[in-house]
């Protein structure tokens, strides 16, 4: 046993150093070089820019939309909401009083904005990351009337935009039908009207 121990010392220490260099430095740095060369846009966060070139968000990371003239994203537990430095879900359990209170309060808000009938679940539940970029088509359709009213646009025009913005599952089974809220709202801004 003692001999086993002493014979192990040199390989243990040397291989720790060698593997640290190979796997902890060479591998990630080489991948950074390759990634930045082949996919510079994605490797740097898929940033979306406005006409003046200023970054206004990431195409794949959600951001908060609170005004009535925009389609709104889901409730978020990331920091104070959509904090890109503090991703998190609510972690509230199914029989949590806190969860029931939060959902009730959001439902009151949605009802006041004119949504009737059963409310799509994603509209009043917090996502896993707190940075969900998407909402379900049902959640987008439910907001059409409010957005059209606030912007003074025909509801049909806004509804058509929503239908056009739905991403369908890949090969019919991969993923859920969904609407990227930032992309939808950028389209919406082209129609103009107060936010």
């Amino acid at each position: 046993m003692g001999k086993d121990f002493t014979t192990a010392l040199r390989p243990a220490i040397v291989l720790t150093i060698l593997f640290a260099i190979l796997l902890g430095l060479v591998y990630p740095l080489a991948m950074t070089g390759i990634g930045q060369a082949i996919f510079p846009h994605q490797a740097s966060g898929s940033l979306v820019r406005d006409a003046s070139g200023r970054a206004i968000g990431s195409a794949i990371v959600g951001q908060a939309f609170t005004t009535d003239g925009y389609f709104q994203t889901r409730p978020s537990a990331a920091g104070d909401g959509y904090d890109g430095l503090a991703s998190s879900g609510s972690n509230l359990g199914p029989a949590s009083q806190v969860l029931a209170n939060r959902v009730s309060a959001d439902l009151v808000r949605q009802r006041a904005a004119g949504i009737s009938g059963p409310v799509p679940a994603d509209l009043v539940t917090a996502s896993g990351s707190g940075l969900d970029p998407d909402i379900s088509p049902a959640a987008a359709r439910a907001q059409v009337a409010r957005v059209a009213r606030t912007r003074g646009l025909p509801a049909e025009q806004v509804r058509a935009l929503v239908e056009h913005s739905i991403d369908q599952p890949l090969l019919g089974i991969l993923g859920e039908p969904r609407v990227n809220v930032l992309a939808l709202n950028m389209q919406l801004d082209r129609f103009g009207g107060p936010r």
Partner: protein
């Protein structure tokens, strides 16, 4: 539940079955120490490593030496990461200017990544600098996985060798698996992830103004290179707090499928490799069949429970399944499937928050871990854990029919059965003991976010995850305290190595035995009867032990949920 959801699940299983043999063949080449095409490029690296480290690749090690060398290497690696984390404030590669990681958190994290657990008491964004993620954590994702596979190889050799005094060479097993399997696959996967939107940069956060004009900072980093090995090595430690629910870790439904397949790919290949190693691939398929029976059972319950949704919210006027803690791009089916995959294996990555699953939906991940993560399981750890159950199963079968038990040509005797029981008993002893302790101590009770039975579930889940080396969490638990960091750290270390050492002793003991040729009296270990026996033994031994705990946690929680008794 939808047709589309079940299509995804069945397509996933079909791809897995197709992967078993090709991955298994590659693993078998490494098991035998054969040359692969990759030796042309990486052979010099391998030989250089041996020369510098003073390793004789032809040396054969007995089980004790194999164990001591493996343990010492892991101890040095653990200390290395502890040092990297404690020195974070002084090291480069820290664009956010984060301070050193605290003492008890560094202790916990260094053990966590060394043991392939990747339990995270911290949120990555606010704690870990880019260099710490790369140098401190990513290396463990490779080496703890390679160690797991090496240990499985040692046990395979125990079954395959006749009257031998050795079970292989830890250094060559571990190095070859890293260089010729994990690293090349990760290079390919990393490029795929980057192309799909996972960042790979040394920059820190980008500050921007949103469309509405609010400020938002979004953290970037070398995410993709870590993501690839995080899944492939069944590690599960996320770059970000939200893990694979974060759009930068798992941006699309396709990356989600690839991540789930990555978790299982090597584990599935190892079942085939085992069959090949003992000279009968049907032995491997029988193991995989038993695993898939348990897997599909878990998926069915979890998917059903999540699709049925939360009656408390239905009462309030919310439609549909349970979306709290889930991402829209994955939806219910892919989230439930991921939760079962990640806990059937010892991965622990999550693409939805298990804490917010319905009571029964969240019980499945918990139960999977309590079975010992032998349903495909962690890379290496899954198959050697499963073979411990197989030893007990032939022993029980032998008792029932009154014969000396044999398994794949080896007589199973008192020594092996005692060691297998010792290894398996670590799980319930530590999980239940530490959960009980934490349910009465003030420091333990300070942890849970949720009240009532769900709070108890959070504690039970934490210790289950730590001892089983999973790493997923009911993340409402505040675990970044000296109490939890300390106890969970010890639980992870013992949960890993107190299984491994008896397992290696079994490998040594089996390797020394003569071949016990199959006869008409041998209990067949390939057919449906054997698969049924295995499933039964795993459920009875692994599952029943934890039933009282589950009754106090998820089952009580379920009753509260359907009655609308909120807490």
């Amino acid at each position: 539940m939808t047709f589309q959801g079940w299509s995804l699940i069945l397509a996933f299983v079909a791809i897995l079955l197709a992967l078993a043999k090709p991955v298994g063949l590659w693993l078998f080449a490494l098991y035998e120490g054969r040359r692969t095409p990759l030796h042309l490029v990486l052979g010099p690296v391998e030989r250089g490593f041996y020369r510098l480290a003073g390793i004789d690749p032809a040396e054969e090690q007995g089980w004790r030496r194999y164990a001591v060398h493996m343990l010492l290497f892991n101890a040095v690696l653990m200390l290395f990461t502890y040092a990297v984390l404690r020195l974070q404030g002084a090291l480069p590669g820290n664009p956010q200017g984060l301070p050193a990681v605290g003492e008890h958190l560094s202790f916990n994290t260094a053990i966590s990544f060394t043991t392939n657990t990747n339990w995270q008491s911290y949120g990555g964004e606010s704690t870990m600098a880019n260099l710490s993620q790369m140098l401190g954590l990513t290396i463990h994702n490779f080496l703890s996985a390679a160690t797991g596979i090496a240990l499985a190889f040692a046990l395979f050799r125990g079954f395959a060798r006749r009257e031998a005094g050795s079970v292989g060479n830890y250094w060559t097993d571990m190095t070859r698996i890293t260089l010729y399997l994990l690293l090349p696959l990760c290079v390919v996967l990393t490029v795929f992830y980057i192309g799909s939107g996972v960042p790979q940069t040394l920059a820190g956060a980008v500050d921007l103004q949103t469309l509405e004009g609010a400020d938002q900072s979004i953290l970037l980093g070398p995410v993709a290179s870590q993501e690839a090995i995080k899944m492939l090595g069944t590690n599960g430690g996320g770059f970000f707090n939200a893990n694979s629910a974060h759009p930068f870790e798992n941006p699309t439904a396709l990356t989600n499928l690839v991540q789930m397949l990555s978790i299982f790919a090597i584990g599935v290949g190892l079942t085939w490799c085992f069959g090949k190693a003992v000279g009968n691939t049907r032995q491997g398929w029988a193991i995989l069949a038993a695993m898939l029976v348990l897997f599909l059972g878990g998926v069915t319950v979890a998917y059903w429970a999540e699709a049925a949704g939360n009656p408390v919210l239905h009462q309030l006027g919310v439609a549909g399944g349970n979306m709290e803690g889930k991402e829209v791009r994955f939806g219910i089916a892919a989230s439930a499937l991921f939760s079962v995959v990640t806990t059937a294996a010892s991965c622990g990555a999550v693409n939805a928050m298990h804490d917010s699953f319905t009571a029964l939906g969240g019980m499945i991940p918990l139960f999977n871990m309590q079975l010992g993560e032998v349903v495909i399981g962690g890379v290496g750890a899954g198959i050697y854990g499963f073979l411990l159950f197989a030893i007990l199963a032939v022993f029980v079968a032998g008792l029932m029919v009154g014969r000396t038990p044999e398994y794949v040509g080896k007589k199973i005797e008192a020594r092996e059965v005692k060691l297998a029981v010792l290894a398996i008993a670590v799980l319930p002893l530590m999980i239940l003991g530490l959960t009980a302790l934490s349910s009465v101590l003030e420091q333990g009770l300070a942890g849970p976010l949720n009240r009532g039975p769900h709070g108890f579930s959070e504690i039970l889940y934490a210790f289950t995850s730590a001892v089983a080396n999973n790493g997923s969490a009911f993340a409402g638990l505040t675990a970044n305290t000296p109490y939890y960091n300390g106890l969970l750290g010890v639980a992870m270390w013992l949960g890993r190595f107190f299984v491994i050492v008896p397992m290696l002793a079994i490998a040594g003991s089996l390797a020394a035995k003569k071949l016990a040729p199959e006869s008409a009296g041998s209990f067949p270990t390939t057919g449906g009867l054997w698969v049924g026996l295995l499933v039964g033994i795993i459920l009875i031994l692994g599952g029943l032990t934890f039933l009282p705990g589950l009754a106090l946690g998820p089952i009580a929680d379920h009753l509260a949920m359907i009655r609308g008794t909120l807490s």
